[in-house]
Symmetry: C2
Subunit: 256 residues, 2 copies
DNA sequence: CATTCCGTTGCTTAATATAAAACATTGTTT
DNA sequence: AAACAATGTTTTATATTAAGCAACGGAATG
């Protein structure tokens, strides 16, 4: 571990948490380092575009480099490219909010979001992370991970309550994961955000390993039994199609 | 300038240019550094999420941290937030591709893009940079910068030819900028990409300084004289509305 | 099976990052 | 308007870390 690199990257994180930016002295105080040290680290980050200094307030804010890298990153994700037309299809079919997420370090990250008819406002956004235990995509991913890894994640991350419906009992949760694995899709009834219900399907890679999930989100008042049956058919079909594009063979499911 | 931070950030840039990732030895060769130095720098970048190691190939690729930071950055740009409804309006009115760009270090960066009716495929993408001299948004921005700064930028960046229509003669270009400044909008006739015509308007902040530009792009075959007149009216109107939202007062234009 | 290459680790020291002190500038208080 | 305080920036000395050498384990190649 290179300490000065660690410090510089910590500065970026701190600065990103302050929309109005942060000053040298403030950063020095937070990190318990000398102002001149902070100044030098900032200068290096500025020269690479990660940070820029507001000419009026002198405060340091995020620069555009992360935006450039993120554009490159999203374009390099084959899954996202292959999935795009299917997500469009799903949006057209359902007129709801569509998400594509990948699994990373015990959480999901949104890498694509289609707004549907835009009557629904959710907290999700490309680039944001979300917990596994109370999102439909998260539950679907956990359902297909090895048991030991699931236990490890739940131990590390806990199961914090987001709404009245959040499942916080571990044993109930494991039963829920079994059910999801068996039926091939998962539903989240207002477990993450009040008033919103989501249904998700897993996406497997060519080796049959779960790598992502796709979901449909809508206001709970629109999610009748009939509607959910309809969405279930769409989401499992699209999940299968995307997986196939990645080289996954459904025949492995038949052998189960 | 902190050398080890400079090296670490250079590693991120190098890695981002290789979709399939890069190995320790390959990076060491590029940077003419020792493998163990590279290894330690990579380990620090991995721990912060900027880089991750592909478990199969052992190669190092971009991690998700830039995506997270970019999401935070875009949300923190007041201009983008204020402009969003106007861009939607413009998309609805014209059914063409709409761009919002900011000026940064002698280039423009796309911070918003609406696809219109999706019959047009352009190279632009949120997060990407583009040159000033051959884009409608770039020319509009240059038209409202101080002359000395324009000259400095042209000296540094040059005026590379992108198409048969790219203006590469400096004097002709300055005349073009004068025209754009006087008429309050700029047009780019296939100067950046063949077959595509764009029309842009400036966006000023509360101090009357140019900070951004908004544009409409379409296939040249659709851009009749009549159509361009129509789009000109839309784009100058929207440009003015967005500027007003940022506290710019049109009265300063009347005094010119 | 032997050789080569790559990623990773332990250890030493040369080079750099760090902090103290000082300075310049800006903002605040009297 | 003057004095004071705070912040950002620069210079300099040295303590600490980053860097590189050598070696190792594992994978790939001939």
């Amino acid at each position: 571990m290179v300490q000065s690199v660690d410090r510089a990257l910590t500065i970026i994180s701190l600065v990103s948490q302050n929309k109005d930016g942060m000053g040298v002295t403030e950063l020095a105080s937070h990190l318990e380092l000398n102002k001149s040290s902070i100044f030098r680290l900032l200068a290096t980050l500025v020269s690479h575009g990660y940070i820029e200094q507001d000419s009026e307030t002198k405060k340091y804010k995020l620069g555009y480099k992360p935006l450039e890298l993120s554009s490159i990153l999203l374009e390099s994700i084959d899954l996202r490219l292959e999935a795009k037309p299917f997500l469009k299809e799903l949006e057209t079919l359902t007129n709801e909010v569509i998400h594509l997420v990948v699994y990373d370090e015990g959480e999901v990250i949104y890498i694509e979001k289609l707004e549907g008819n835009e009557t629904l406002r959710t907290h999700s956004k490309v680039g944001r992370r979300a917990p596994l235990h109370c999102t439909s995509v998260g539950k679907v991913i956990l359902a297909h991970l090895p048991q030991a890894e699931v236990v490890s994640i739940l131990d590390r991350k806990g199961m914090p309550k987001h709404t009245e419906n959040t499942i916080t009992d571990k044993e109930s949760f494991m039963v829920e994961l079994d059910k999801i694995r068996n039926q091939g899709y998962g539903i989240e009834f207002e477990e993450n955000e009040p008033g919103i219900t989501c249904i998700a399907a897993p996406i497997f890679d060519n080796r049959g390993v779960i790598v992502a999930a796709v979901s449909i989100s809508g206001p709970s008042i629109r999610m009748s039994e009939e509607r959910l049956t309809e969405l279930r058919n769409y989401i499992t079909s699209i999940g299968g199609k995307i997986s196939s594009r990645l080289g996954w063979r459904a025949i492995s499911r038949q052998h189960r």
